[in-house]
Amino acid sequence: MKKQFSVDPNLCTGCRTCELACSFTHTVDGKAGRPRIYATPGGFEDLWVPVTCLQCDDAACVKSCLVDALKRNPETGAIELNEAVCVKCMACVAACPFGCALVDPEQDKVIKCDLCGGDPACARFCPTKALTYKPSELKASKIKVLG
C-alpha cells in the first residue's frame, strides 16, 4: 500500500527536531544541508506548523521548470529535483506558493523535499508524532491536516 505523509500541527511543540533530522540527512561532503521543513509559528499561542512540500498534484514547481529537472517519483509520490539537470534559474523557488522550493547557499544548489526516497527522516525523528508517514488508503504523499 502507498504511504502518506501527514502533518498535525496540534501535536507539534516547535522543537525543530524535524529541521535537524532533515539537515543531517542531506549532508554532502561534511556540509549539512539546508532543512526542507520548517517549524513555523501558526499565529496562535503554542501553535506551530511544520511547513514542508505538499507534493502537489498540479505542482507549480514542475510547471515552472523549463528544463524538466523536477519529476514525480511514482514509487513515493514525491516530486524530486534532479541536481544534474537543474540550471539554477530559481523559477521553482519563485513559483512554489508554499515556499517549499529553496536555495541551499552552502551546498550551492536548489532543493526541495523528496520524502527521503521513501523514509522521511523528519517523520522518523518527530518526538510527538506530529509528522507521520504511514500506509494509507488516501492518495500517496499528500499532507493532510489531521483532526
Binding site: F44, C86, G99, C100
Partner: protein, 259 residues
C-alpha cells in the same frame, strides 16, 4: 542490456547509453567540464577522454570522449591509464596557456599536478573556454538569447550584434552554469544587469527581498500558466503565510475539541 568493464569492475548498462552517463551512475569520475544534465553532450572540452579496448582487439586501444561514446557489450574502459592521464595533462596545459587568469582552470590543472603551463601563455586570454554550455542551456530554456559568434581565434559567446539581447529574460541560468564563472552580472535590490541588458526585479510584497526579474516571471506566467501573483511573495514569506493558514484550521480544531 550490455556488460562492460570499467577500471576492472563489471557494470551493466542500456545499449546505446553514453559512457559518461554510465560512469556517473557508477560514481566513477572524470573531469567533464562541458557536460550538463540539461543538455545533450557536446564534446568540447575533451577532458572526459578515456581509454577503450576489447578482448578481440588484439591489444589495440582507442581514446574517446566518454560523453559522446555509446556503450557496447564487452567494452573494457580505463579512465585513468597512464596514456589517458598524460592526454588530460596536455589538454589542461593548453587550457592554462589560453586562460592563464582563470581560477577554475588553474584548479583543474592543479588536480593533475600542473601549476605552470609549458606552452606560451596568452597574457590577455579571457576565461571563456568556449564550451558553449551557456548558449546550449539558453536554447534549452527556450530563449536562445545568446550564441557563439565568429570562428577560430575570434570565436566568442555574445548576444546578437553585441547589443542587449532582446530574448534574454535575465534568469541567470547561463551564468549559474558557466564552469569558469566568466559570465558576469550584477544585482542590486531592485534591478539586475546581464549581457548589457537591464532588468527590473520583482521584490517580495512582504519583505522587499528581490525574487526574480519581471521578464522571467511574465514568461513563466504566459508559457507555463502560473498565476502571476505566485511571484509576488518570496519563499520565506510564503512559508509564513502557509503556517498561518494551516494554523487557523488547527486552532478551529482545537476549539472544537475543547468545547
Amino acid at each position: 542490456m550490455v556488460r562492460l568493464t570499467i577500471n576492472g569492475r563489471v557494470v551493466q548498462a542500456e545499449k546505446g547509453e553514453m559512457l559518461l552517463v554510465v560512469m556517473n551512475r557508477e560514481k566513477i569520475s572524470v573531469p567533464a567540464i562541458c557536460n550538463h544534465g540539461a543538455v545533450e553532450a557536446f564534446g568540447a572540452c575533451r577532458l572526459c577522454t578515456v581509454e577503450i579496448t576489447k578482448n578481440d582487439w588484439n591489444g589495440w586501444k582507442n581514446y574517446v570522449t566518454s560523453c559522446l561514446y555509446p556503450v557496447e557489450d564487452g567494452l573494457i574502459v580505463s579512465t585513468h591509464s597512464e596514456t589517458v592521464i598524460n592526454l588530460r595533462k596536455t589538454l589542461l596545459d593548453l587550457h592554462l596557456a589560453r586562460h592563464p587568469h582563470s581560477e577554475h582552470v588553474r584548479q583543474w590543472a592543479m588536480e593533475y599536478g600542473i601549476t605552470q603551463t609549458s606552452f606560451e601563455e596568452i597574457p590577455d586570454g579571457d576565461d571563456c573556454i568556449l564550451c558553449a554550455l551557456c548558449t546550449r542551456i539558453c536554447d534549452r530554456m527556450g530563449f536562445a538569447a545568446i550564441s557563439t559568434v565568429g570562428r577560430g581565434h575570434g570565436k566568442e559567446v555574445a548576444p546578437p550584434l553585441n547589443e542587449p539581447p532582446p530574448d534574454c529574460t535575465g534568469c541567470l541560468a547561463c551564468a549559474q552554469c558557466c564552469p569558469t564563472e566568466f559570465i558576469t552580472f550584477s544585482d542590486s535590490g531592485t534591478s539586475r544587469e546581464i549581457w548589457g541588458k537591464q532588468f527590473e526585479m520583482i521584490t517580495c510584497k512582504e519583505c522587499s527581498k528581490p525574487i526574480l526579474t519581471k521578464d522571467f516571471a511574465e514568461t513563466l506566467s504566459k508559457t507555463r500558466n502560473i498565476p502571476a501573483d505566485y511571484f509576488e511573495v518570496c519563499d520565506e514569506c510564503h512559508r509564513k503565510a502557509t503556517a498561518l493558514t494551516m494554523g487557523k484550521i488547527s486552532q478551529w480544531q482545537r476549539e472544537d475539541t475543547a468545547s
